[in-house]
């Protein structure tokens, strides 16, 4: 991972530097106009959030069944990223909705389930911070519930009536809109990987500090 970090960081920075030009060159959507351009950061932020939720859930499962401490560090890092990327989605979505739907928020299936999923990961972080000893396994279970929410949130727009655009929108994008969207999605996935590596490194250093303190006491 160490060898991959620098090239990944360079590629991600290049993608983020190019993204504004790609978004600017993308055509206006016929009914929503300029405000639809929020889509190029809003959806990739949720893609990164879903990725973080799945990494957190899988790492949580490893913590529960194998008790591995390295997996616990990955789960904690991914949970924090799920909250950050989820917050991006939860803020940019209403800004789009205000213009496109005329309201900031609607308590429909997609928006509510997305908020609930985000709150699960906020709860994970609160549990890790204030739960005391043994909170690792309890929070790992919470991570599994958070991951289980991902398919519900994703398919909610196709199953229930909602104001939110359906998932088919992404698959049917014109190349002039699809290519900037793909670039932005790759930039966010790259950003997720870079931040995850940095955050796991922080937890690894903290674990080393704890081990040294124990050695010092002995």
């Amino acid at each position: 991972m160490k060898k991959l970090f620098t090239p990944l960081l360079i590629v991600t920075a290049a993608l983020f530097a190019y993204a504004p030009f790609a978004i600017q060159n993308a055509p206006y959507e016929s009914t929503m106009g300029l405000v639809q351009k929020i889509f190029y950061f809003h959806v990739p932020a949720w893609i990164a959030m879903f990725l973080a939720a799945m990494v957190c859930g899988i790492a949580g499962a490893i913590v529960i069944f194998a008790g591995r401490k390295d997996a616990d560090r990955v789960a904690l890092a991914a949970a924090e990223l799920a909250v950050v990327f989820g917050l991006m989605g939860l803020i940019t979505g209403p800004l789009w909705g205000r213009k496109a739907w005329g309201v900031w928020w609607q308590w429909d299936a997609r928006l509510t389930s997305a908020l609930v999923m985000w709150l699960v990961f906020v709860a994970y972080l609160l549990l890790r911070k204030y739960g005391g000893a043994g909170s690792e396994k309890l929070s790992a279970v919470l991570a599994l519930f958070g991951m289980a929410n991902v398919p519900f949130v994703y398919w909610s727009v196709n199953v229930w009536r909602t104001v939110h655009p359906k998932t088919s929108v992404v698959m049917t994008l014109e190349p002039s809109m699809g290519i900037p969207f793909l670039l932005c999605s790759l930039a966010f996935v790259g950003l997720f990987a870079v931040l995850l590596a940095a955050r796991v490194r922080l937890e690894t250093v903290r674990a080393s500090v704890d081990e040294l303190y124990l050695s010092l006491e002995d």
Binding site: G33, L34, V35, K37, I38, F41, H42, A45, V84, L87, M88, I91, T92, L95, W96, R98, K99, G102, V103, W105, Q106, W107, T112, L115, L191, L195, A198, R199, R201, L202, V205, R206, S208, V209, L212, Y213, S215, L216
Partner: protein
């Protein structure tokens, strides 16, 4: 400060469901020409797009700064404890 943050968070958690209970605005009786809409409805898109992109950048940069400052602090602590441990072993 921590108590204030906890109280604010608890307030948000309690307040969110109350927003869910709000009734949606009633639909209009007939079609309304866009030109006669109130000013609030003729919302320009540019500020919303700019705010959305600014929020994303602020969150990314803020989080990067947060990781960097925490990592610097942890590495400083690691170096400090390592030094103390080495000094203890020499004695």
């Amino acid at each position: 400060m921590r108590r204030l943050l906890s109280l604010s968070f608890a307030f948000i958690l309690v307040a969110l469901p109350s927003f869910a209970l709000q009734q949606p605005p009633s639909p209009p009786e007939g079609f309304v020409p866009a030109s006669s809409l109130p000013g609030q409805e003729q919302l320009p898109a540019a500020p919303l797009v700019i705010i959305a992109y600014a929020v994303v950048w602020l969150l990314v940069l803020g989080y990067l700064w947060s990781i960097w400052s925490r990592l610097t602090q942890a590495e400083r602590e690691l170096a400090d404890v390592s030094r103390r441990l080495a000094a203890g072993q020499r004695r």
